[in-house]
Symmetry: C3
């Protein structure tokens, strides 16, 4: 059974290695797939986007261990979330907001059964003591309800949604940058379906862009353009140049979209 593992632990410290060791000591046959240990430290919003983009691609029933957990040891709940696609284990701090919103069937459990905990000495490393063991026991076939009782709702981040209004020319939407990748591509919160097949104009600050381009290669070198990006949203991207640096954009920078 596959267990994916995403965290902000990095690998220079022993934390990631310890969690994988705990999983393998419980289930030596577990197949652990590292998704990332380079998530931005304590950035739950970015991690929520990562998890929602990557995990649903995996086979149905995959166990996803996800830990970005600045409040470890506080009263935020350790959680298990079963959806029609995958099973998620991690802190109830908003990390699973998008998974929750995008799933039709979902049941959340509060991890309380200390029988499945690794040990009880530390209150600072739930990935080792609670989340890792839960993922491992799930991979051995322990049923979700064994770990604790169902909870009705989970903590959800307030994620920005674009606001729209009719204009003389068509429809105008206010959106923003919700993600920036290592290439400097700016991911907006305008989903594919809003834009696909339409004539769209995009404005960021004083920069106006007309006409979607189909791929990075058709952007002239050193230029930027908007594009249907690979994560399901309209992106502002550069060719051999970072759109982020060129436009000095940040998470939350406003973007205007006009559908003509």
């Amino acid at each position: 059974m596959v267990i994916t593992f995403s965290s902000d632990f990095g690998t220079a410290d022993p934390y990631t290695a310890i969690v994988k060791g705990v999983i393998l000591s419980i289930n030596p046959k577990a197949k652990i797939i590292d998704l990332s240990h380079e998530l931005t430290t304590h950035d739950i919003r970015r991690a929520a986007f990562f998890v929602a983009s990557a995990c649903p691609v995996y086979p149905v029933g995959t166990i996803h261990l996800c830990v970005v957990d600045p409040g470890v040891g506080s009263n935020r709940k350790p959680m298990l979330l079963v959806t029609e696609k995958g099973i998620y284990v991690g802190p109830d701090n908003g990390l699973f907001s998008l998974i929750w919103q995008n799933s039709k069937h979902k049941t959340a459990y509060w991890l309380k059964n200390s029988r499945y905990f690794f040990k009880d000495t530390s209150r600072t490393f739930d990935a080792r003591d609670v989340f890792g063991p839960t993922a491992a026991y799930l991979s051995l076939g322990v049923a979700p309800e064994e770990f604790g009782s169902v909870v009705r709702s989970i903590n959800l981040l307030r994620l920005p949604e674009p606001a729209g209004q009719a204009t003389r020319r068509g429809r105008h939407f206010n959106g923003e940058i919700i993600y920036i990748d290592r290439f400097g591509n700016l991911v907006t919160n305008f989903a594919y379906e809003m834009v696909q097949g339409k004539n769209a104009e995009v404005k960021l600050g004083s920069r106006k862009m007309k006409g979607l381009v189909p791929n990075y290669g058709s952007i002239p070198k050193g230029q930027i353009a908007h594009i249907l990006g690979s994560l399901g949203y309209l992106e502002i991207a550069g060719n051999a140049v970072s759109a982020q640096r060129l436009l000095k954009a940040k998470i939350g920078t406003k973007v205007d979209l006009e559908l003509l």
Copy 2:
């Protein structure tokens, strides 16, 4: 069946995780080995060196998924390259130049059969839509010719070769730095066979070095020397010091070799 995966995607963004998910959703038994996701962004030359150094070490028949692809979505071909040692999947942009040159038997295919593509919505993420699925279906036993037709030649980078001439003292060669590693070791384009067992003098800028040393440990602390490096070439290396920083060398910096 082993699938190795090398890219410049990093792991802070979801791209690498998505590609691995696509592979596992096609072949849940695939054994994915991450070689690197920290290849220098869009640096095809460096990636070609990486691929040629690492992949041929793997067992015969291993599938190597390699993606450094600044021209994704443009008219560069998605490619499959079968050699006597391994099977390579990635963009035809020069990435496989050294593999092509070093292989005796090789057949290249243009990936055109959309039956094996993941989906067709995006033109910006061929690793997910074309290369990953191809690697996965290959690991399930689909024959190379199923993916597309044979192409006669592939794009090759012009890689520098050392030029030699007779001198009064012996033979003199003009070469250059082709790779620099994280320790600051400078890899030249003088292959082992040119130097091994010979009395060699190396000059970089005003710095002259005499006498090959057998290993890093025999370089005096804080000093540099030339050495038969681990990648098959003459290297200029330091002990507890970066040769790169000391000599202010770059890729392409000229190096002179005199065999006495």
Copy 3:
């Protein structure tokens, strides 16, 4: 059979990928678990702490390939260390100091049998030529004594131990920072057992901290406190702030502990 792999090779260069390829070419069924390739370059002390924190968590009999090896090719011995928990392969340069000290049963072997070496051309890449192959052959069931003869002692780092003396109020100890993690948490050399259940006061420079807190979440935001950290030692940690940056602490910075 699981082989864990820890190194300071990074993954931008081909070294890590080559070693994994060598292992798989000897034992295609080996299950390689990457623990870290981001160990600090040539920092044996930090690596020794990493290895001792992570490896013993793995199942009994796991093979641990550990390479931080600034003296590669010099006269430091290539080594195999069998303990009651795991089997360690790497250079005898102090890397296994803590494992040696923490193990009840241990036998060290000097890797001399070139029959199990990959090739003999280079003296600069023992991870590929000696350590990797040894780990691979061990995973195939080759007995430790096949690789070389037993050695009585291994190289041990001098690791700091806290010094104590009675005070009017209780007992006073001089310790120091032995590890700093990516979150800036400062790990001292005061082990759990010294502190647990006691009233402890900690002083670093002019900063005095009273009263252990149970977890990071109970530290007021922007503040620091001492805590029983996840690695078995007293830590000085911050909440949403780096204790390292706040206190300008380094490895070796003195810390005073008073048990009242």
